[in-house]
């Protein structure tokens, strides 16, 4: 159900007609080392029909394979032997990517985005597993590998012991901050500083940079956080 921009050669002329105007256009396009003429301005598609005449049937539904226009417009002429040094059928010489090299930088454990399942969907199931609400019978382990662990370390400035927090249980800074308050509550009591405003939340992202959470959205934060720190606010 598309608004066809009709920038194309009609690929299936009997089915439908692209919004744009083809019969003369393809011939304007030159091949390879000549410069390209931009066909009539596409920016104002209201001016599509300059002439009042209706198109003839043949003109409209011209079979592209009959036309003289090449179906591919090369910026490079295809020579059928793109890799001279390789015999394409020779599997041993093939340049198949070695998959081990393409790992996600921060954990080296898994490929980014593979298998192709949606991350939020994964998080939902991980939530379930972390909650342990329903034990999986038969001991089927749903392995949670490094790349998908939702636990991050939290350190509060001035507190010797770091804690870990399960990020998948949180969906906003509010709930996260509340949980952190509870976690480190006893230290505040001891130091006499209960006011959460005294602390700023900072996190280390995938690139190793430390950022303040107040500058970013939850989504940006949750996607890239590696570690969290509670810093005394100096103001």
């Amino acid at each position: 159900m598309e608004l066809q921009l009709g920038l194309a050669l009609p690929s299936n002329p009997s089915k439908g007609f692209d919004l744009n105007y083809f019969a003369s256009e393809p011939k304007e396009i030159a091949v390879s080392n000549r410069s390209f003429t931009v066909a009539s301005s596409c920016t104002d598609i209201n001016d599509i029909n300059d002439n009042n005449k209706k198109r003839s049937f043949d003109q409209t539904f011209e079979n592209p394979t009959d036309s003289t226009v090449p179906r591919t417009l090369p910026l490079l002429l295809w020579n059928h032997h793109p890799n001279e040094e390789d015999d394409p059928k020779d599997l041993e010489n093939h340049s198949l990517v070695t998959f081990n090299d393409k790992k996600d930088g921060d954990n080296g454990d898994g490929l980014v985005g593979w298998p192709p399942i949606r991350s939020r969907w994964k998080n939902k199931r991980l939530c379930h597993e972390n909650n342990g609400a329903v034990g999986l019978e038969n001991g089927f382990a749903c392995g949670i590998r490094g790349s998908n662990s939702t636990y991050v370390k939290v350190k509060m400035e001035g507190v010797p012991i770091a804690r870990k927090i399960d990020l998948s249980l949180h969906h906003s800074f509010q709930t996260l901050t509340e949980t952190l308050m509870d976690m480190f509550g006893q230290w505040w009591l001891e130091t006499g500083q209960k006011d959460s405003n005294q602390y700023k939340l900072a996190y280390q992202d995938r690139e190793g940079d430390w950022l303040f959470t107040e500058d970013v959205s939850w989504r940006t934060f949750s996607r890239s956080v590696q570690r969290i720190k509670l810093l005394k606010s100096s103001r």
Partner: protein
């Protein structure tokens, strides 16, 4: 000729055109002559923009002055798998502001993979006098505050506004509070469809109950996980007319009174045809839905971590099932049962329960899919995750089901060969494209050489979308696809040894497609620059978080490439890690 064209008054033509709803047909109508173009553009009510950057809002508004329904898509599909960095784009804001001014009578907004803020939602809630439908599919950037604005303004006395549909399918919503639901006014009764399954927080349950109770036309209700099972019965009793239901968490202590209450409530829903949800399933409660199974046409169990015997008992009763989404806990045995009971099955999706584990955790293999292909003669659409496949199985499936239109196979370990012969799976997929002549969508996996692409280029003449990962050997593979697949609209490739040559040799093809995505391939920045300079109607976006591509040799492969056709020129909202090249050959940064 001229006289004939004028002999029908505009109103008559408009009335005739009103029977033509398909966009392709309306596009064809508009090219007949100037007067038809004019009448058609004034009467077009629904616009679909497959890539929000392919055209500007002003251009759409200028051409179609009276649109009532718009659908926009933003990020490329691979954004679903975290391959598109945050901040890439897909902002709906300029569209909303333009439409707020130009389309006061807009009724429907459907967005997919776009970024929408609370401010945008507020503007929507206030700008359109007759607003009815808001669907946000895989969107992000907003919070429950934005939803509160939608709810608060869902009904307008001044105008005839009555919201009918609020569908948040799989969007990422910042959960600030569940109170947003309370903003629906007490006299608001026109809700037809509500999908909040993606929300993490607890919504105000009493508000939800009252809302459900006072909306007699409610036919779709998809709850989120936070709605407990013991509240479900009450909701169902208030909405026995429901056609589609998504449960919340499906777990509770097993208690006979809760069970019979639930079972009774389900039995009262005589129209129920679609079920989903089922988080945290306690198998003992599954029989509560047995009374309605025979009416079900859609069953989504992709969150249900229940084992094969329970799944078989459930699905075995769904003789009218057309669509089944399930985890691989169903096992080959379960799929055999589906093949035997669900003769009307059109679509099957089997998701992995342990996608990152190195070993198979369940006995689900290619055999399950083969059984389905044998038993379900109407099967058209498949998404199947498994760990082993053979050419023989693929050939069997292809011969059994030449009517297949969507075939997406994901063999979990990249580069897995035919487990019987240790050969690549080229001939298996070749059989798929050869036999399934109407195939529109295909996803490949396993060990594949350039040969599979030759098959695809030769046979897949109706293919519109192709997803490729860890496949091929050389540019020849990409060349086969670009030169052979006449109907190709979307091509997405990751981790394949495709470089510049096929891309440059088929540059014009790219203008016939919506978009091309290539990541972790061997395309150089030099080729991207050339494409960008020579092809003014393409936006060639180089996405690279390592810093400017100019800081590396031109022959160095770029990280990610997204090419799409456009009449709107380069976009202005690119983040720092996206580079594009204009025809003036100056490299543009954001």
């Amino acid at each position: 000729m001229q006289r004939m064209a004028c002999s029908f008054p505009d109103e008559v033509l408009e009335h005739v055109f009103s029977f033509v709803q398909c966009d392709n047909d309306r596009n064809a109508i508009s090219t007949v002559c100037k007067s038809w173009y004019k009448i058609e553009r004034w009467s077009r009510r629904r616009v679909f923009v497959g890539n929000c950057y392919a055209i500007s809002p002003d251009m759409v508004i200028r051409r179609f002055p009276d649109v009532r329904s718009i659908e926009l898509k933003g990020k490329p599909h691979f954004a679903d798998f975290n391959l598109v960095p945050d901040g890439w784009g897909g902002y709906v804001a300029p569209w909303i502001s333009a439409m707020a001014a130009a389309y006061p009578w807009l009724e429907e907004i459907r967005l997919k993979r776009m970024v929408i803020t609370d401010e945008n939602l507020e503007l929507i809630s206030k700008s359109f006098k007759n607003f009815k439908v808001l669907v946000l599919s895989s969107c992000e950037g907003f919070s429950t505050d934005g939803l509160a604005a939608i709810a608060a303004n869902c009904r307008s006395y001044l105008h005839c506004r009555n919201l009918r549909e609020l569908d948040l399918r799989e969007s990422e919503v910042e959960d600030l509070s569940g109170h947003w639901l309370k903003h629906f006014p007490d006299d608001y009764t026109s809700l037809v469809s509500l999908n909040i399954a993606c929300l993490g927080c607890e919504v105000s349950f009493s508000a939800l109950e009252r809302l459900v109770g006072r909306c007699p036309n409610l036919r779709t209700l998809r709850l989120n996980r936070a709605v407990p099972l013991d509240k479900l019965a009450n909701l169902l009793r208030r909405a026995p007319q429901l056609v589609e239901l998504g449960t919340g968490a499906y777990s509770s202590e097993l208690r006979p009174d809760v069970f019979s209450n639930l079972s009774g409530a389900f039995s009262g829903c005589k129209e129920l045809k679609s079920l989903s949800g089922f988080w945290d399933v306690v198998p003992g409660y599954l029989p509560a839905v047995y009374p309605i199974c025979c009416r079900l046409t859609t069953l989504n169990l992709s969150y249900a971590t229940i084992q094969s015997p329970d799944l078989i008992k459930l699905v075995g009763q769904c003789q009218n099932l057309q669509r089944l989404w399930v985890l691989d806990y169903i096992e080959d045995a379960g799929l055999d049962a589906v093949a035997a009971s669900c003769k009307d099955l059109r679509e099957l999706r089997v998701f992995p329960s342990d996608p990152y584990g190195p070993e198979p955790n369940v006995p689900l293999t290619e055999q399950g899919l083969v059984s389905i292909s044998e038993g379900c003669s109407k099967l058209q659409s498949v998404l199947y995750f498994c760990r082993q496949m053979s050419n023989a199985a693929l050939m069997t499936i292809a011969r059994n089901r030449p009517n297949m239109t969507r075939f997406r196979l994901c063999i979990i370990e990249p580069g897995t060969p035919d487990y019987l012969t240790l050969q690549p799976l080229d001939v298996g997929f070749g059989a798929i494209v050869e036999h399934c002549k109407d195939l529109q969508r295909l996803s490949l996996s396993g060990l594949l050489t350039d040969l599979v692409f030759e098959y695809i280029g030769t046979y897949a003449k109706k293919l519109e979308m192709l997803s490729v990962a860890f496949a091929g050997e050389s540019d020849l593979g990409l060349h086969h696809v670009l030169s052979g697949c006449e109907k190709l609209r979307k091509l997405e490739i990751r981790d394949c040894p495709f470089g510049d040559k096929a891309l440059l040799a088929n540059a014009a093809k790219l203008e016939t497609m919506r978009s091309l995505w290539m990541s972790s391939c061997s395309v150089t920045f030099g080729a991207c620059k050339l494409l960008g300079q020579k092809m003014p109607r393409l936006n060639v976006e180089v996405i690279d978080e390592r810093g400017t591509p100019d800081s590396r040799p031109e022959s160095c492969p770029i990280d990610k490439l997204y090419i799409y056709r456009t009449v709107a020129g380069s976009r202005f909202d690119m983040p720092g890690f996206v580079w594009t090249i204009d025809e003036d050959s100056a490299m543009r940064l954001s």
